[in-house]
Symmetry: C2
């Protein structure tokens, strides 16, 4: 009798991620996977993005949390096309969870899906969801040493957002140290500095998103 | 032929944690396992604790990070009894890593070991290190909803520290909401509000530590 062994959970995840990617591509949907520590501002950024793209782009949101529907309820005030995934304790989303969430979404005419991953700067980066871009959100109050201490997420992300810039004057955050470390880890990745509170940088961020939507539709 | 299966990685960890616990008990060492998101202030709290207990208690520090010796180098300025664990990507410390770190420490005359776990509000809580107390550090700028979104760490911790209180006036942190949720999840756990920047609450925190050291020596 042969004993079957699942050789690689990541291989299984990759296969499902490829299926998701095909689905997104066939439907011309741009998919962004937002990664950060707890409390760095993922939900606020999603809300500000929905507000600014209202009437221009049709947006769906997937909310990932270990439990609760707290963030999905916040987002529900701005769009009804939001699905909450509760991982039941698991520290990251995987491609199967995203497939299940998408199956509960209205995808007809959808331009953009924003995935809020579980708040965790480590584990989610290893799990391909089939997204077009991984985006890490770091916040000023977490300190300038995050790229040094958590390199993988900064290496693997296509865009780095530095949020809560409104706090920079009252913090000891060393901007040039942060930029230098990002440059060493991921020289090709752009950094956008923003504050969801004051609106700094949000125009640049929205332009970044719109440029990708357009490129996607050009395919 | 029988195929051996490691039934439960947590069972293996628990056995090693029990060995650590015995070692700590036999040597009258109080061990605190500090848990938080990245950037909530674990390293700053350790430095402030060492400064305030200098000459009173002999302190060792175990620094957990996925890579780098960045935090251990900061701590080295205040004590030479610090060991860095690099988990090589793993998102939490386990009891075996702590055993190895302790074997490299000077334990003779040691009163207190502060373990800075990997910055992650989810995974570390499941791994017993043999510590006396788990302590979660939440920071004001992470938002008042952390107990709702990450319940396990708040349920399992023996003490909750709310750090960066200096930012509370310029944030929309709802103190009564936070306290209410903590009360629902873990009514027996004390909350100490502090700021490593201004010193608020540090006296209370140091007293909490000293009381436990004394209790331990009374055994």
């Amino acid at each position: 009798m042969k004993i079957e062994v699942v050789e690689n959970v990541l291989k299984y995840n990759k296969d499902q991620a490829d299926k998701n990617r095909n689905l997104f591509k066939n439907n011309n949907i741009l998919v962004l996977n937002l990664l950060s520590s707890p409390g760095a501002g993922k939900t606020s950024l999603i809300i500000e993005t929905i507000k600014r793209l209202k009437g221009m782009k049709d947006i769906g949101v997937i909310e990932g949390d270990i439990s609760s529907t707290y963030d999905a309820e916040k987002i529900k005030k701005f769009t009804d096309n939001v699905v909450q995934i509760n991982t039941g304790g698991t520290c990251h989303l995987n491609a199967t969870m995203v497939e299940q969430a998408v199956s509960k979404m209205r995808t007809y005419h959808l331009d953009l899906i924003l995935i809020e991953n579980v708040g965790n700067l480590i584990c989610p980066v290893g799990f391909d969801l089939g997204e077009d871009y991984k985006i890490v959100i770091s916040s000023v109050n977490e300190g300038d040493d995050k790229p040094v201490k958590y390199p993988p997420v900064f290496i693997k992300s296509n865009l780095i957002l530095l949020n809560k810039m409104d706090l920079i004057k009252i913090s000891d955050f060393n901007q040039s140290f942060f930029d230098k470390k990002i440059g060493e880890l991921n020289p090709r990745s752009e950094v956008i500095k923003l504050s969801c509170k004051t609106g700094i940088g949000l125009e640049k961020w929205v332009k970044w998103v719109l440029d990708r939507c357009k490129n996607k539709n050009d395919l």
